[in-house]
């Protein structure tokens, strides 16, 4: 395999503690995402000055939750993380500012 040939290989951790930790991480992420969705729906029905900013901020958090935890981007090189956060920041700021 190319990964082995270029000496990039590390063993994927598969001990019980790591497995349980990962499952817990997915569960916590899912609960947080559902809670954020409910909070978004509540804020959407409120008449507040900064409600649009709050909705977009919550969308930012949910997006990061899915990308970093479900898609495991947290394990990736910092380049991919910065690119995603940068794109999201620019997009949501543009939508809000317009």
């Amino acid at each position: 395999m190319a990964y082995v040939r270029f000496d990039l290989a590390i063993a994927f951790p598969n001990n019980l503690f790591t497995v349980l930790k990962m499952e817990k991480s997915f569960n916590i992420t899912w609960i947080v995402l559902i809670v954020l969705t409910i909070v978004t729906a509540i804020f959407a029905n409120m008449e507040m000055k900064y409600v649009a900013l709050i909705i977009l901020g919550l969308a930012f958090l949910k997006f990061i939750g899915v990308a970093f935890f479900f898609m495991e981007l947290k394990k990736a090189n910092v380049f991919w993380k910065v690119l995603l956060i940068g794109f999201l920041g620019v997009l949501l700021t543009a939508v809000w500012a317009i």
């Binding site: 990964y3 994927f12 898609m71 090189n77 380049f79 997009l91």
Partner: protein
């Protein structure tokens, strides 16, 4: 070792899911992002029309669909996790639940579309519904493609699980999560913002 995956994700060329899939994801996100910025610009020109049109959307449908996709994404992450452990039965179970979540999303979306068509709120009704139909239908196409990819993985997982490459499976899963990401942009902006 069968249950050992040898990938250094910290290497810039090997993000989880593969570099090609991430290039696709960024291209998709930029495409949807540009359309959403144009939508916001149109809303600035006609704020009242956009606000009144937005109120014609069913926010509950959008929120429930968000829950379907997020739950489906959670199942997908679990499925990948169990595949890496070579626990094929649990991986298959969570993959089927993932596809169920996708199908529920599509079913509710169909109900929503039916309501809109019945009410005459079609793509040509006004600018808001033009954006609504184009963006959400384009997203639905992605969900359909995602379900096909997952169904092919499910077939291999059922018939010859030992031949399924983890990298390929993670790529398919990453595409599925991309559908979540796109929806997490569409839902607040189209259904709640204007």
């Amino acid at each position: 070792m069968a249950n050992t995956l040898k990938i250094d994700y910290k290497n810039v060329f090997y993000p989880p899911g593969g570099i090609l899939m991430w290039i696709v994801i960024y291209l998709e996100l930029v495409t949807f992002g540009i359309a959403l910025v144009f939508m916001a610009l149109s809303a600035r020109a006609e704020p009242e029309m956009f606000h009144e049109s937005r109120l014609l959307l069913n926010t509950a449908y959008g929120a429930i669909n968000t829950v379907f996709l997020l739950s489906s994404g959670w199942c997908m992450a679990q499925s990948v996790h169990f595949l890496k452990k070579r626990n094929f039965s649990k991986s298959r179970l969570f993959l089927n639940l993932t596809m169920l979540g996708g199908c529920l999303f599509l079913a509710l979306k169909s109900v929503e579309y039916y309501d809109k068509v019945e009410a005459g709120l079609t793509i040509g009704y006004n600018d808001f519904f033009g954006y609504y139909w184009m963006l959400t239908l384009f997203h639905v196409v992605h969900v359909l493609v995602g379900i096909v990819i997952l169904a092919l993985s499910a077939r291999t997982l059922r018939k010859k699980p030992e031949t399924l490459k983890v990298e390929d499976y993670v790529s398919g899963a990453t595409f599925w999560h991309m559908c979540d990401l796109i929806w997490l942009l569409l839902f607040p902006i189209i259904y709640l913002l204007f």
